[in-house]
Symmetry: D2
Subunit: 492 residues, 4 copies
Amino acid sequence: MYQKQEFNKRPTKIGRRSLSRSISQSSTDSYSSAASYTDSSDDETSPRDKQQKNSKGNGDFCIKNIKQADFGRREIEIAEQEMPALMALRKRAQGEKPLAGAKVVGCTHITAQTAVLMETLSALGAQCRWAACNIYSTQNEVAAALAEGGFSVFAWKGESEDDFWWCIDRCVNLEGWQPNMILDDGGDLTHWIYKKYPNMFKKIKGIVEESVTGVHRLYQLSKAGKLCVPAMNVNDSVTKQKFDNLYCCRESILDGLKRTTDVMFGGKQVVVCGYGEVGKGCCAALKAMGSIVYVTEIDPICALQACMDGFRLVKLNEVIRQVDIVITCTGNKNVVVRENLDRMKNGCIVCNMGHSNTEIDVASLRTPELTWERVRSQVDHVIWPDGKRIVLLAEGRLLNLSCSTVPTFVLSITATTQALALIELYNAPEGRYKQDVYLLPKKMDEYVASLHLPTFDAHLTELTDEQAKYLGLNKNGPFKPNYYRRVAVRSL
Amino acid sequence: MYQKQEFNKRPTKIGRRSLSRSISQSSTDSYSSAASYTDSSDDETSPRDKQQKNSKGNGDFCIKNIKQADFGRREIEIAEQEMPALMALRKRAQGEKPLAGAKVVGCTHITAQTAVLMETLSALGAQCRWAACNIYSTQNEVAAALAEGGFSVFAWKGESEDDFWWCIDRCVNLEGWQPNMILDDGGDLTHWIYKKYPNMFKKIKGIVEESVTGVHRLYQLSKAGKLCVPAMNVNDSVTKQKFDNLYCCRESILDGLKRTTDVMFGGKQVVVCGYGEVGKGCCAALKAMGSIVYVTEIDPICALQACMDGFRLVKLNEVIRQVDIVITCTGNKNVVVRENLDRMKNGCIVCNMGHSNTEIDVASLRTPELTWERVRSQVDHVIWPDGKRIVLLAEGRLLNLSCSTVPTFVLSITATTQALALIELYNAPEGRYKQDVYLLPKKMDEYVASLHLPTFDAHLTELTDEQAKYLGLNKNGPFKPNYYRRVAVRSL
Amino acid sequence: MYQKQEFNKRPTKIGRRSLSRSISQSSTDSYSSAASYTDSSDDETSPRDKQQKNSKGNGDFCIKNIKQADFGRREIEIAEQEMPALMALRKRAQGEKPLAGAKVVGCTHITAQTAVLMETLSALGAQCRWAACNIYSTQNEVAAALAEGGFSVFAWKGESEDDFWWCIDRCVNLEGWQPNMILDDGGDLTHWIYKKYPNMFKKIKGIVEESVTGVHRLYQLSKAGKLCVPAMNVNDSVTKQKFDNLYCCRESILDGLKRTTDVMFGGKQVVVCGYGEVGKGCCAALKAMGSIVYVTEIDPICALQACMDGFRLVKLNEVIRQVDIVITCTGNKNVVVRENLDRMKNGCIVCNMGHSNTEIDVASLRTPELTWERVRSQVDHVIWPDGKRIVLLAEGRLLNLSCSTVPTFVLSITATTQALALIELYNAPEGRYKQDVYLLPKKMDEYVASLHLPTFDAHLTELTDEQAKYLGLNKNGPFKPNYYRRVAVRSL
Amino acid sequence: MYQKQEFNKRPTKIGRRSLSRSISQSSTDSYSSAASYTDSSDDETSPRDKQQKNSKGNGDFCIKNIKQADFGRREIEIAEQEMPALMALRKRAQGEKPLAGAKVVGCTHITAQTAVLMETLSALGAQCRWAACNIYSTQNEVAAALAEGGFSVFAWKGESEDDFWWCIDRCVNLEGWQPNMILDDGGDLTHWIYKKYPNMFKKIKGIVEESVTGVHRLYQLSKAGKLCVPAMNVNDSVTKQKFDNLYCCRESILDGLKRTTDVMFGGKQVVVCGYGEVGKGCCAALKAMGSIVYVTEIDPICALQACMDGFRLVKLNEVIRQVDIVITCTGNKNVVVRENLDRMKNGCIVCNMGHSNTEIDVASLRTPELTWERVRSQVDHVIWPDGKRIVLLAEGRLLNLSCSTVPTFVLSITATTQALALIELYNAPEGRYKQDVYLLPKKMDEYVASLHLPTFDAHLTELTDEQAKYLGLNKNGPFKPNYYRRVAVRSL
């Protein structure tokens, strides 16, 4: 639902969503390359007014155009090649069906990568009904391919708010069918069921939620004593965190800056605000490209790490006049304020890699004496009365989502984590999970990682019996205790 | 007590101590440069048989030679310059004395750095009695300076086992004086009091322990329900861990290899076993110097990190024939076994950076068909019948302790952590700490870091009131939750 | 003229042009972002058939549409901000006019950056007449702005071959006007004068040529004894070489791969063919992003450097089955041949960063059993009968020109070099330069560098008199002898 | 002869030698580890007064003690293992003897590595007579092994100046024997022959000289028209330069600083004066270890490289108050002067990696108000009246020679270069070389590199016939023109 706040269409939801991050963001962008298939569609009829059936006569879906199924299938096939972990799960599940009997209702971005996930869940034995978690992010031709393949999908690119909730309702509200698992991204589906069909929770075995916002809402429910099923927070699993933040941002900071500004990195002075995983990734990449990087931090432990990694730790004001690029990665608000912007030099580039669009106080730039000039998509020149220009990227929204792409490998990590969380919750013996919010068990987290090692032709070493005994470990893991490295949101 | 196992003098303790790491190791080595003052001493009388008094007539100590006090004072003064965090603590404590009334009994390495710690504790209001935790590591001239300054120190370089326990007993067993705080390194002091003076625990407010071994023993006591006071595990504080492992090893792997072998790193093929913090430090350093580095791992999450950091993940046997250097950093045993050693190429260097001396199966090399040739201090050539030589460093013991030095900055982090842990336990309101083992509170951990930032002329940013509120944080920290990043021993 | 060979419009010129590199390449691409202004123009009348006049009534030019002058001026102003070295030259020339009396005829890409160069030459005292060196690369609105500003420009985007030579001729063949300096990029202008107006050389003081092709033709003329004026090869100046190759490619390899494939670099196995400056840049960047990089080389000195920099030196066949990305940077032909392509794994990305489009034997892929599928602009999937796909970028042409952009900073280095070469040749005392091809004097090369230091707020140290004497140097340089680092073409 | 200036024993030679660098330096240090064998020798008789014979009755040598031959042989055998290039040359020469008939008189450091060179020359067919180029650097046991092996060696550790020239004379002045090749390091041997036996040059085919000083003297002879045979400057061969400077210093800066000061590099602020090859190596290493590095330069081209590599370019005074370490790498004098030293902060480390010991104005520190305190070998504290200390390493002499070691691999590059230069000069057809100073032909330079590739298991690619033709190259090289990268002395 991230995009909504960008378009200011549903302002009432902005506040509530302002914490949204991670998967939502990732998938938001992943559809960008393929979305063009349907952009030029001139069919203005609402999908809700159309009657469509797939080639087998099934009509339990609502999408833009079933005729695009072939294009969508092609997209899915390409994504399959880059998501070997899910394909491996399918293979391993050929004998046993760990999700046999599962009825999963899902609400996520609907993209080729999600389709690979859904078809994997199906191969593992689950039935699936699905809606979109974002009114803009649906790849229509992928939705068509899913519908053609027999999935009950209710989603199209460009839904209205009313459409949005209508689609969710169609997923859930079907006579003779009740979900027993929820896969959510942002918490809207969960919210809808709580509000409209609270009785459904009697049969639901668990919720898997992957966005920061959704997790936040679950913890609030839990604190209020209102959470009535176990929920799994997959956003904070170790593997997913490392990829969403450190590894992904190490590459996307360069990519996002290049695509928007063509700036040369060598010799540039850059200040990075925040030295969490995102900041570490940005700093490492820019240093490697020959930039001179300064860091600001509030946490002395992160600050000391920045020092030991070779970055001068400064207050923003010490360097603001001299830097060529300012990057925020704090998760905080008003990190770069008007006073800072006033002091920047001509041509300074300002962008945000952190988790909300309030890190840069963009609102403070919307004053009469400043002129805005859109020079490219996602690039504005803000011009001071004396002619000074600063180059503002993506209006202060997340650079890596707005101006870069998320590699399929990162999405594969997320989708695999979701699949394993569903399997875990669905198969857990009575009593293992209470009505609380859980992290993915360390062993499953390790399993996600191990499923991705073949991509790198990486060969894991096995403990000998003697070694396992010496370390007090099971030979198959988990190799770290469950409490190892719970990364809090604000560790960004 | 690490050295003991090296010299095989007290074999019965070896097993029990095999987990010893970290501070013990650090301080073990730190005395090396200055110890020479007393090496040539030809006075063979046991300190126990001498009656010495300091210039004020005080004789409540037992050391080698009070006349060396001036030399020791000079050593302490130099160390003070490099431990600004403790000096800052002294200054801040000029008004309030947070350890007023504290009676600290300590058992650690007795070096110039420890002296700075002891004199800091004293400045904060504490009385101190001290013994050595290692029979070889005492800097005699520093002990003399401490005795001259009025500290009751019982320690000298080259104690016998009997001396060792006698010294500890003299610290504790004094009429009219009872300790109320314990600072231990290895657990021997704690063990002694448990065994001989269990009643003393009634007055003791807490134990601060910093070695892996000691912590291990405390957890065992706790599990057995026998821990009768709160204990603080300072070994696993975040700041200390990062410095003991990642930052320290990143430099000491290069230093240790150079001092022993003068090997050129450029173009060398190296395999690093284990990609925890120590492994990460070793890999980063060698890659930067132009080596080609392979990694072995058992944990898929660490393995995936190695891949993303640009290292080929292999099984040892895949590369053992071709590599020039083999480094173990696992904390496991028998990581490099005779079969591997047999297959190495002529001139291959083998060393251990991990936590025990069993990572390389050195025992398997002590067979008749192999010839050992000592070519330098800490460097053996092991020669196969066909003339092949491998270069074994430090007989498989820790390279960074045996063949390198620990920077004072790392020791400063440790000493500051110890001081703050003592303050916390001593001043904690009734009930905050139970009879359990605790980690240093995150806020104190952050304070240790912040005290070291001035060394780098690093300037921390402060949250505004608005930002603190937005993040739900106190402006002064803690900035991460307490459960953040508990690093288990085996995360190495 | 590089684009011509891509479009196969003038096949007879391809052979002759196949060595074209460097500036031509750079500027080829630089127009891409802005060219869109005129793409949609539906005015199909040939500029040759139009009579246009600028606002001052001057009609001595031939361009697409004088009305676009304002748009072009805006482009030029933006470029000025990023070319401070030329602006500095203008300032320094306010008193003296080092090009007073110079009549420069030029044939280069006509872009905003070139406009800044031309207006600088004008400010230095020169008269300029200009044609395009490439039939596609002209930014029409920039040409309009130049015409409006009084420059005699003959160029538009989409010239025919006949137009091309007609434009050149119009530059040269003007009654009552004779050029005395030539600035050429590719050698076509020089060729035309040699062929049509050989007498003109009597008044010409020198030629400045910046493309590999053009330089090659000049050396051939020289060898044949037919060069009748001094010529300056600015392609091989040290500063320009470093930026065109090492620094530019270090960034553009990442940019080009991301924009075309969104590939994640972390953990990828890459083979880079050739370890000259371009290869060094590619290797350094990919290593920093976490790729595992192999290198192939023919020259043992470069090979040894690759080893010392931490790259395994292999033959292509040793790794071809396992790598994810293949990059050629050799300047050679048939470096990757069909046999290699047959053995690559599914999904392998193949691209060329070297100097000709024959490094990858793309022709060998145009056989009936292989299917080509265009998946994005500049991205083809070539599909084997068994379904294996390789991802071929830019059809084997230069990735950094086709799929990335050249930073203005690099173009600024080139333009400044050209300006200084013109000044040097124009002002050289009789006899300093013979009828031969020269490199830019070291001192001028250093001056180009020094003019770009302020961009980085970099402060150069000055020799004291005593130091200069000790080193036997002039305090103002040159600091290296002239023969220092002549980089041959094939050092790529 | 480098050591002489350190010990101030022969002050009259200091001035003349102040340019000495490179090989001289390298080998100066290489003997350090083994020299201890003979340190404790209490035989005070001068070797000149002893009559010794080897086991075959040959007495044409003068060394310390023939009985040490076995120890020396062992040293030579170990060195052989690390000098595979020379061993490969021996093998390839088994059929042809390219030095058959050569009578080489040599004057270099006499170390195990030199012995491997001498025995290689012998295996190639040459007769050798040898003296030491430095009065301190001879490894006596190696000299013994050479004498035992039949070489006429005249050298021992601790020669007087008179001994020095006597030894040289004994090499040259032998009835019935005349040298036809000279291998010199420093130019003393050449000088002696010029002065005493000028007629000898009639039979001499060439001189191979490898030190900066010696090369300088040869160029002066040449300029004065007094050079009467061809001479080869091997100091400036590309392969040797890269290893002597960039690769060697990248490692030795870390090693030298650690061994002397145990400083932690992480977070330290460092200024490196000079960004030639040595400076580049130092900067890269320290940056990789987490230091913040500033650079000073006089040459704008090197300065721009520093910027693009991510270093702030400053004047020394801008950062002198804040840095923790100052390193000179300029080849210039008085780069760090008293005024700078006065402004450094307490504890600042100052050292020299450049080519002369005048880069730091150490003399300016020998004033009454400053106190010098020797704290370790090669480490002085210089103490200001206010108590400020700076840490001066090696009294401003070369850190990498005084406090680090030169890897055998670097010495192997040098020795192989020398051997090939001798072969080239000895076998060159009449007229190829005139009475001038030459660089090693590019092809031989490449050959040196290729002989060292097997050490890295590196596999060179061969050009196909078609490719060689396309590039206009011979398949076996040279791959770069001879004028490629002539590195001038002051490029350091």
